[in-house]
Symmetry: C2
Subunit: 125 residues, 2 copies
Amino acid sequence: MVGPTAVATLEAPKRPDRASAAGRSECCALFHRAVELVGKRWSGAILSVLLDGPLRFSEIRALVPDISDRLLSERLKELEAEGIVEREVLDDHPVGVEYRLTDKGKALEPAVGALKRWADEWLCR
Amino acid sequence: MVGPTAVATLEAPKRPDRASAAGRSECCALFHRAVELVGKRWSGAILSVLLDGPLRFSEIRALVPDISDRLLSERLKELEAEGIVEREVLDDHPVGVEYRLTDKGKALEPAVGALKRWADEWLCR
């Protein structure tokens, strides 16, 4: 037997505030790729410390806790292949290699900054 | 034998434009957690389509190409556990479930928006 509550439920009109999925665009493939790229484990952390300026390998290691040499090396190569990071051989003594963001990498600052602000506001509660 | 070029290289002073890593802060643990959370495969895409308004499971499926039912279900549960997404049972006919962003989820809009703009500008070249 169908009670009054069930009837009310069945007869309820579609809620007017419900947005329809029709006409909404698919998640953009470029955005999805960007998330995969920046969101890969440690990539965001590496970008974050390089946004303050160029660093040597050992300096990145010191600023990104818990990353291994192998993984840092792998991530830097990936970011370099994507044109986000570039290496420069320093003419310092001792000779060293420095990693810096390209213009493409520096352009990630607003996204990294916005996510930092979100994290500060919402994840420390 | 050391030639003039090598001498010049060895004697070059430290470049003044090189930022020191000393005094720079470690990659913040909260930011790292935010990247892991939002950057997890498909999470960014799901957030992106939900930022336009609530959707049913099948509607998210239609708007996020290539995701499987199993993975979408898993991601939605994770985002719900993080307080980013909430479920609501609709009193529509047929009865359905809708997924919507919480305030914490909606607060990700600036970060998602900034990353979308970056992707549009730098990944389609």
